[in-house]
């Protein structure tokens, strides 16, 4: 038999579904956001962890940013008899040009495009499947075609569709890369070892190893990535092999990875993305919680007679609290279920917003764990936010069955000084053990939920601390604004006075509404300002003297040719040509560096990265010497001067941040591996570099003459007017097909596009937070709708027109919007300033247009929300309302 109390709970809910609609929505939006992000995270995990072998391209990968060393080759050879399958893949950037059928076509009319070239062998892919269209065997597609080529040597090539679109080609068209010709034999649909196309220099072109050789692109010092993958037999255990390889290759500059750490960067990026999105989702749930608290409080206010009656019948407060808590949790449960639906729908939408950043083929199936987690979070949030208003049940006197309630709060406010009021409040709070315990419980609970959401205790504590500070600041600032409003001379017009007074009457939810909207506004402001600053950095703040082109891999013997092309055809374009050589740090002050020990550590990349070295006689233009001295010019004329320097080692100037992280000081020695040759240099000076100048800048500059004979190439920068960009690229590529031309504008545009996409995904969620704030506002308005209806009816009966009433309501909601906007934008400025200053190292700019637009939009949102919540009340004929009294 069902207990009467359960029936009571059920019937009370049952008689007031519409009243709880907003409570459901508040919880559903929060749970929905969390479920969507969680489902998305699980899907990403599925992709990344699902077939890690395919992602890495093997069980183990050895990779070099240069040609494999002899010792490396020996290691590989020694593995041959261990029952492993090997696959060799080479990746490099290159220029693809379309061969004109007409030899008379001017060079500058030939289309060219920067591509990401990948040369594969017959064993590729060791795991996973290459998807191409038409679906023919890869070997056949990459082989030299029987016909269709106008040049030789000619090979087959697989290309991404974007290349076809950009160069206006089709399958069957001919391409030139380096010294070889290629016939496009198929469109590349999916590479098993590449899951996201986010940050790429250009479309992928896949060719055979034989074809790569024919292109003559890979020369000494070329920028290249050599990957040797192996699949090991089941009997070979992975860890000992990894240990052995790392040991044997420790000085070879090789990156040794196993499938267990496939795609570490992408994984870290997506983990971070999911973390941020998840925390925004949690914020939405907290904002929704404000709506829950308001709804429950409003509901209880209407239930006071019943609560008093139950008390006269002998029910104690804990019994009644349990009764209404059960109701709240039941409602929260329904809201959470609704949230799951919202989440599944949002989850389908997220990939659309994040297109290009996330893996292209994501499974979109909902999984059970995030859904259950969402429901549990929703119910726990309901518990946390309804418990506080429910505690008020204890103060409902049973004597209310025969006496009207009197609100004492105003009297206390009027009769006591502010300090006494606060002291009284604190004293009550401290003396009320139950309330104290519940308050602590709620704080601990919310912190616990945040920890659960952030998957990190420290971050959870930080997040809830930040939330608490934000809420206190928002409430404090709102309090000050309403205090000011109280002292503003109130306009004589009744309707205006009524509107202003309405914001301050007992039992209002003004602060809750301001808080709920303010949080969303704060989030949106912060994101908008940070996004604009970063986009500004990428796009608008490029100095006018910044180069428009980078040319890389210019061979030493091509230097005169390169200069002559530029000087003859583009005489007005200033250029800068510097020799570079790639290196890795192997020791500092004679102490060998173990790159493995620095992997994954904060700033560990200073130890593991590749350093491009250059030599320079003079201190580069944008650099400022902060310590030590620049070398003496005269020494350059002395060949081999480096070895004659007093220190016996050539001198190097290091960028100051790198020096700080590498713990280098003046006089430290730095051992570098230049393409297998050891090179020791002594730190002679430290420099400050303005990286945003977009000129060629280096972490390390070695004194001239130090690495004569090293396998260096040249890189060049030049600046041409936009209309000459294509002709310049074509002119260089036509005579030096191995040189890669990188258009700075294109790269920045690409980065900007991806960044904008990312920002859009995050902002979409932040917008949901604002929507939740609006729902909270409607919820709060609807709680007092009977009182409002009654007042509107009286004013109408006295002759107030609908227009006048709307004006009065407009003032009320406009003030809420203005206050929420001011406070939210103020805090958003503070938050974005801290983020830009401490995290991005950027200057915060006051942007009046953004901020005032934000304020206007918030007022508009508040007005629209307010009218949405009250427009039906305006339509009621006054008599029908007053007759029901």
């Amino acid at each position: 038999m069902i207990p009467v109390s359960v029936k009571l709970a059920w019937r009370e809910i049952n008689s007031a579904w519409s009243r709880f609609l907003f409570l459901f929505l508040c919880i559903a939006l929060g749970v929905g956001a969390i479920v969507a992000v969680d489902l998305f995270a699980v899907n990403v995990e599925q992709v990344i962890l699902g077939d890690t072998r395919a992602l890495l391209g093997g069980d183990v990968e050895l990779s070099w940013r240069r040609a494999i060393s002899d010792k490396g080759r020996n290691v590989l050879d020694s593995l041959a008899d261990r029952n492993m399958v090997l696959s060799h893949v080479t990746e490099t950037a290159a220029m693809a040009t379309v061969d004109s059928p007409n030899p008379q076509t001017p060079l500058t009319k030939i289309a060219s495009q920067l591509v990401e070239l990948k040369a594969i062998d017959s064993a590729y892919p060791l795991y996973g499947r290459l998807v191409v269209e038409p679906d023919l065997p890869t070997a056949q597609l990459l082989d030299s075609p029987q016909s269709g080529c106008s040049h030789s040597p000619c090979f087959g090539a697989l290309v991404q569709e974007s290349l076809l679109i950009r160069l206006n080609l089709t399958v069957g068209s001919e391409l030139r890369i380096g010294q070889a010709s290629f016939l496009i034999t198929a469109v590349l649909k999916k590479e098993p070892d590449r899951i996201a196309n986010g940050f790429s220099l250009g479309p992928r072109v896949m060719i055979s190893r034989e074809a790569l050789k024919a292109t003559m692109l890979i020369q000494i010092g070329s920028r290249v990535q050599e990957r040797y993958r192996m699949s090991i037999s089941d009997s070979t255990s992975l860890e000992p092999l990894m240990g052995e390889l790392r040991g044997r290759l420790s000085q070879e500059g090789a990156q040794v990875s196993s499938f267990r750490d496939a795609q570490p960067r992408l994984r870290r990026f997506l983990d971070q993305l999911n973390l941020y999105l998840g925390l925004i989702g949690f914020t939405i749930l907290l904002v929704g919680g404000i709506g829950v608290a308001c709804t429950i409080q409003g509901f209880l206010t209407q239930k006071i007679p019943i609560i008093a009656t139950l008390k006269t019948l002998g029910a104690d407060s804990s019994q009644i609290i349990r009764l209404y808590l059960t109701q709240s949790l039941f409602l929260g449960g329904i809201g959470s279920l609704l949230g799951v639906l919202v989440g599944v729908v949002l989850h389908r939408g997220l990939p659309l917003l994040l297109q290009g950043i996330i893996p292209e083929t994501m499974p979109m199936s909902p999984t059970v764990a995030p859904i259950l987690r969402g429901i549990v979070l929703g119910i726990l949030a309901t518990l946390a936010f309804s418990l506080w208003p429910l505690l008020a049940i204890r103060h409902v006197s049973p004597a209310l069955v025969y006496r009207q309630a009197v609100d004492h709060s105003q009297d206390i406010n009027n009769t006591q000084s502010r300090l006494t009021r606060w002291l009284t409040f604190l004293q009550h709070w401290w003396n009320d053990r139950a309330q104290l315990m519940v308050s602590i419980g709620i704080m601990v609970g919310v912190t616990g939920l945040a920890m659960w959401q952030a998957h990190s205790p420290a971050l959870g504590v930080f997040f809830s601390g930040a939330c608490a500070v934000a809420v206190l600041l928002l409430l404090g600032a709102t309090g000050v604004l309403y205090r000011i409003l109280r002292h503003v001379p109130i306009p004589q017009r009744y309707l205006l006075r009524h509107a202003v007074k309405n914001l301050q009457r007992p039992g209002n939810f003004t602060k809750a509404m301001t808080l709920a909207i303010g949080i969303g506004v704060m989030l949106m402001t912060t994101l908008t300002i940070v996004q604009r600053s970063l986009l500004d950095l990428i796009g608008n703040q490029i100095p006018s003297q910044a180069p428009s082109f980078f040319f890389i891999d210019i061979q030493p013997d091509q230097q005169p040719q390169f200069i002559s092309v530029l000087e003859q055809k583009f005489p007005d374009s200033p250029y800068n040509l510097v020799p570079v050589v790639r290196s890795r740090i192997t020791a500092i002050n004679g102490q060998p560096i173990d790159p493995e020990a620095h992997k994954g550590k904060r700033n560990g990349w200073y130890f593991t990265r590749e350093y491009v070295l250059t030599t320079s006689r003079d201190l580069p233009q944008d650099n400022i010497l902060t310590k030590g001295n620049w070398w003496d010019h005269t020494k350059e004329s002395n060949p081999g001067g480096a070895t004659e320097s007093p220190s016996d080692f050539p001198l190097v100037s290091v960028e100051e941040d790198a020096a700080k992280n590498l713990e280098l000081t003046l006089g430290s020695t730095l051992t570098l591996d230049i393409q297998g040759v050891e090179f020791v240099a002594k730190v002679a000076s430290l420099r400050q570099v303005d990286w945003s100048s977009f000129s060629i800048n280096f972490f390390m500059i070695v004194e001239p003459g130090s690495f004569d004979g090293a396998p260096f190439t040249y890189i060049a920068t030049t600046r041409v007017p936009t209309n000459l960009e294509v002709p310049l690229q074509q002119a260089i590529v036509a005579v030096m097909p191995n040189v890669t031309a990188i258009n700075v504008g294109d790269v920045l545009e690409n980065i900007g596009r991806i960044f904008q996409q990312l920002a859009m995904g995050i902002q979409a969620l932040a917008l949901l937070c604002l929507v939740t704030g609006a729902v909270v506002m409607i919820a709060a308005i609807s709680i007092n709708r009977y009182r409002r209806l009654h007042e509107l009816a009286i004013v109408k009966a006295l002759g107030g027109s609908r227009k006048l009433l709307m004006f009065s309501l407009g003032v009320e909601f406009g003030v809420i919007g203005a206050f929420a906007g001011l406070v939210g934008i103020g805090l958003g400025c503070l938050l974005s300033w801290s983020l830009l200053y401490f995290f991005f190292d950027l200057i915060w700019n006051f942007d009046l247009i953004v901020l005032s637009t934000g304020l206007l939009l918030t007022i508009l949102l508040s007005l629209m929300t307010g009218f949405l919540g009250t427009y039906r009340l305006l339509g009621f004929p006054p008599l029908s309302v007053l007759r029901q009294e």
Binding site: M1, P3, V4, S5, K7, L8, R11, E12, N14, S15, P305, I306, A308, T309, L310, K311, T312, L313, G314, A315, D316, S317, S318, Q319, R394, S397, P398, A399, V401, Y402, R403, V406, H408, D411, N414, T415
Partner: protein, 222 residues
């Protein structure tokens, strides 16, 4: 007993002292605002006096905590209101069974049925308060008050919201139940004919007790 409203406080009751014996029927009379309902509320522990003490069955209820008072009330006191105060979302049967359930007794329904039968509402068991007339609602309230067999039954103008014939019927029923259960009955009324059926009449004016009359039990007269 003082009440505060704003910065002003009003003394509602002062210097009241009386004793009531088990099984007695006592009527409290007086003009509106004389403090009758407040006195009854104090006896039920719904309010707390600012001074003085109230002892019921050896228990000083003024010293009880809120929870202890609630537990005391559910075992010792039945209360009937002028405005009935039925829970609108529960049926008549459920309303009557509720006090037992609050005590953790889950078999209250059969007893509630018997009581509703005894007040003549066996055909209204599953009706909600809004579907019942005023008289019927008050009869449900009577059944609800008696279901825990309270030693003390308090009735605050039980006929105040009813027409005279319905009121008379409800009063007959109240007396009948009082006799059946042997409860002490204290009722507030300004209907002197109803008061005259009580053994003692306490008269209040401006918060003070101005008169007390004791009359022989009607049964002794018979």
């Amino acid at each position: 007993m003082e009440l505060r409203a704003g910065s002003q406080s009003v003394k509602i009751l002062r210097d009241i002292s009386f004793e009531i014996f088990t099984n007695q029927v006592v009527a409290i009379v007086g003009p509106s605002g004389s403090g009758k309902s407040t006195l009854l509320g104090l006896l039920a522990g719904l309010d707390r006096p600012t001074q003085g003490s109230i002892r019921i069955h050896q228990t000083d209820i003024t010293t009880l905590t809120e929870t202890e008072m609630a537990h005391f009330r559910r075992q010792h006191i039945g209360y009937v209101f002028q405005a009935f105060h039925l829970i609108p979302t529960l049926t008549a049967l459920e309303n009557v069974a509720l006090p037992l359930e609050l005590q953790g007794i889950s078999t209250g329904t059969s007893r509630a049925k018997t009581l509703l039968q005894s007040v003549g509402l066996e055909h209204r068991l599953h009706h909600y308060p809004v579907q019942l007339s005023g008289g019927e609602q008050q009869r449900v309230a009577l059944a609800r008050a008696f279901i825990v067999k309270p030693p003390l039954l308090l009735a605050d103008e039980p006929t105040g919201n009813l027409d005279s014939s319905t009121g008379a019927m409800v009063i007959d029923l109240l007396w009948e139940l009082h006799q059946q259960h042997g409860s002490t009955l204290i009722l507030v009324t300004h209907d002197m004919s109803l008061a005259s059926r009580a053994q003692r009449i306490l008269t209040l004016r401006d918060g003070a007790m101005v008169n007390e009359t004791t009359q022989p039990l009607p049964s002794f007269e018979a």
